[in-house]
Amino acid sequence: MITVTLRGRGGQGIKTGAHVIGTAAFLSGFYVQDQPLYGAERRGAPISAYVRISRQVILDRGQIDNPSLVVIGEESLMGMASDNPPHEISESTVILVNSPLSKSDLASRYNIKNSLIVFDLVKLSSGIIEKPHLGIAVAAAACKLLGLNFDFVKESIIKELVNIQVNRDEIARNVDLASKVFDTISPVTITTPREAYRESGILEPKYHEPAISTCAITATGNSMLRDRAQWSNYKPVIDYDKCTKCMVCYVYCPDSAYTIDSEGYPIVDYDACKGCNICKTECPVKIITLVERNKR
């Protein structure tokens, strides 16, 4: 059995990507399982999706540990401590990343010793499609690595995009992009990792006092302690020389990321900012600009 884990952000089409891989493998005659996993649907937050492909009926359920292939939608999701859920990978896991960086840069930045395949979606999509569907592109790349035939991949993409009501022109462009991505990726060997079966047994739940067994939070305002994944690649930066202290950015921030200092100037807490950019759009004097995070 080959297993694939996809990681991306809500809204990027990672779930559709998993469907595309699953359907393409199914059309090729395999038994397939694909499912997304997220806490609750929300845009911008990290999500995962899984695909299992096998020649036999698949009896496994749930999340995948130690996948054959990990597909990562964007670089910011690589160094994240708070994976939801944590992914165990072994040395044999192949990692596929969408990033403008080179393979050696990525490998050294994140200390990766696994087999690493990098493709740059922005570069590949220029001239084909303005807003590429990330899920489709990563699925095409993954299908190439999995050794599937492009005819099935194409059929699968059309099927899945029709399902989510994408118009004909957009579908054609995405298929063009997928074919370009498919041709760019050079195949590597993907192995079936040793399944980490655990002793199953039956667990008997023990009785606990409600004080212990119910989800009561006795702390107040502790959500900043959450190991928060980066929500956005951009952060708002204020030009204080031109700031009029009108407080519009402060008032319209849904996440309490702004505070007002003793002189009346707004200050952004970048750990709290999700990058919705309401402040940038609403600023009456237009002095807020977006700056890439992690710029090195």
Partner: protein, 307 residues
Amino acid sequence: MDSKYKTLKDMPLEEELVPGTLLCAGCGGALLVRIFEKMLGPNAITINAAGCMTMLSVFPYTPFKSSWFYTAMASAPAAAQGVRDALDMLIEKKKVDKKDDLKVLVLTGDGAASGIGLQATSAAIHRGLDFYYLVYDNEAYSNTGFQASESSPFGSATKTTVPTDIIEGSTLQKKDLFEIWRAHRPPYVATISPAYMTDVMHKIEKSSQITGPKLFIAHSPCPPGWGIDSDKVIRVAKLAVETGIWPLKEAVNGEVRHTLIQGKRLPVEEYLKTQERFEHLFKPVRKEKIIAQLQQSVDYYWKSVTK
């Protein structure tokens, strides 16, 4: 009434919600919840019906500096009654000091307010329960992926509206929750919009003088559900008011007063075309009839209230 909140600069600076929630970036509902909690201050307890705002407190983390109580979709007003009664009894028995009394706020989405939890709300208003009730109306069941609710407006596409030859969006009308509530003659009911924050502050300030049910319906643009960019949330909310689709009004003991009457309203399509859920009205061909129908219903509303 002379208000102490004249401009945005008069907003209280103390935050009652700390950052770090799991809600979507640019959530219009979350913005109003933040402002509401600010205005109520630290002595408040929030009774949260299941919905998007479930994601505020996810074990073991909470953004609330004050108390938070989680209930099933239909039962928030009933829980609020229990909390209010418990507080009253403890104060009477002198186990809680009067100055430590808490304001009870029910926080629900439009699905719980106009659908699943409508009867519990009706009963609580009927009993004259002293509480605040805030609906973040994002016009669908957004937390589970934008399925149609009783609050989804005519013509809007949701994940569960079946497209027909005539219209791809909902063929059903949005429930008029304001009028349903007003029929109970509560002491205070109002609509609010995140684009008009001074109006929001005025209304919360005004209602705080009143004992009994204080009900708020908040227009809450939902970036993923409505198909808008997260930075456009305030723009879209503003257009809803400027086109007359979202009237800003209040009713004190059943007497309606509009807190903002536009001299000239923008055409409704200015609002509709900002959102993907109404895209089918313009693409691939303009559905003139349906756009005209939506315009007519807005014109009819304003004609009936301004004559």
